[in-house]
Amino acid sequence: MIAGTVYGVVLNDRTERETLAGTFGAPPYKAPPKAPVLYIKSRNTFNVSGAPVALPSGLREVEAAATLGLLFGRDAAKCDAASALGYVAAACLALDVCEPQENYYRPAVRQRCRDGFLPLGEFAPFDPALLNGEIVTAVDGKEAHRWNLSRLARDAATLIADITDFMTLSAGDLLLIGLPHDAPRVKAGQRVTVTSAELPALETVFVREDAI
């Protein structure tokens, strides 16, 4: 499904940055973040819309953060914001599932990289208009969250430029462009649907691991 690496970015929600601004100067951070704060979703997390997400025993609830994934069609290295979107070939809705985190000091591999913790919707050709859209998350059929991508601290083009300043985003890589800090929390038994105006919808159901 994904040939390359899936990268995501935290602290790219302007409202979250405003909320946390007072803590950035204190330990353990000691300074506000400069470069984009990236993470990797390993291949065991890849999941498809329609398949369930299993919650391990001991994990009562998880954050289900709906976002937009951009699939690269060409290698992007040291590109500027004006050209950045030209490297993107396709887009999909993504539901980045994560065990709620206390802080951002250490990489959250255990929290973010459980099996199946990245359901992805079907890909559609990339259209820059997608970047002005809203992403809606419904839990058990009822709207639980809505966010506009104008909330991103770094918009997609700036984000790609700032990432490729120090590493290549390769053809086949997927970039999740940011997570809403107020993403809904869900439990086993709940059904989550992610929609936006232009992209194929994503749907999954959360189940207990021992139920599969």
Binding site: A3, G4, T5, Y7, V10, L11, P28, Y29, K30, A31, P33, K34, A35, V37, L38, Y39, I40, S42, R43, N44, T45, P56, A77, Y104, Y105, R106, P107, A108, V109, R110, C113, R114, D115, F166, M167, T168, S170, D173
Partner: protein, 250 residues
């Protein structure tokens, strides 16, 4: 058996080291001199790459860390890999760029909820990584952050994958790093805080490890800052010597 992944006649092939590693036997039986081979990182495309921070008691002390905590695990993209005798960019402002020689365990069979006692049966083989770090770029968000640890071609890997059966105990191997011939790191895998078996047990406790996935198990003490033009060799007993050179970059 020792196997290398090389580019040959326009294709990527795995070749077997023969004649005391001076030659490589290709899948079609042809032999080429090892000096003529174009070594690629010995990796399965798509594999997850795990790396460990602070996993040697001496290196933890050197960096000022104390208590035993859960393993500090981070992930790397395949853009970071570069083959034996390859070049790694050394940024002009990366004056605190240092090599980190690491034993790499390569998973051979799916591993989920594996006990420490049986964990090594899931290892197909071992290789060597040099997991460069550039300390100027450290930030305290998801540290070690990707600007430090996910740069292109900053993780030389190879030259060979050695079958696990030929290694036996992975926790008793000497590690040496040389820069321009001078020893800058010297240690043994016996000093790992969490050994290969413990790391597989830990990771497989919350995710499924698949064949080809790699675990870079951390590095012993010895922080030596490098310059463009430096020749770096990472050697691990019974596995080989991984050569790399640093080239100036902007």
């Amino acid at each position: 058996m020792k196997r290398a992944r090389i580019a040959h006649d326009g294709a990527v092939v795995w070749a077997e080291a023969v004649e005391n590693e001076t030659a490589l036997r290709l899948p079609n039986g042809q032999r080429i001199a090892a000096t003529d081979a174009l070594f690629l990182p010995p990796v399965t495309p798509g594999a997850a790459i795990f790396a460990l921070g602070l996993n040697y008691a001496d290196h933890r002390a050197e960096l000022g860390f104390k208590a035993k905590e859960p393993p500090l695990v981070f992930l790397k993209g395949q853009n970071t890999l570069v083959g034996h005798r390859g070049a790694t960019p050394r940024p002009a402002d990366g004056n605190q760029m240092h090599p980190e020689c690491e034993l790499v365990a390569i998973i051979g069979t799916p591993a989920r909820h594996v006990a420490v006692e049986s964990a090594l049966s899931h290892v197909a083989g071992y290789t060597i990584a040099c997991d460069y770090a550039i300390r100027e770029y450290l930030e305290n968000y998801y540290r070690p952050n990707l600007r430090v640890k996910n740069r292109d071609a900053t993780t030389p890997l190879g030259p060979f994958v050695v079958d696990a059966a030929d290694i036996g105990d992975p926790q008793n191997l000497k590690i040496v790093t040389r820069v321009n011939g001078d020893v800058v790191q010297q240690g043994t895998t016996a000093d790992m805080v969490q050994g290969v078996a413990e790391l597989i047990a830990y990771l497989s406790g919350f995710m499924t490890l698949m064949p080809g996935d790699m675990i870079l198990t951390g590095t012993p003490e010895g922080v030596h800052f490098c310059a463009a033009g430096d020749r770096v060799e990472c050697e691990i007993e019974s596995i080989g010597v991984l050569e790399n050179r640093l080239v100036a970059a902007s």
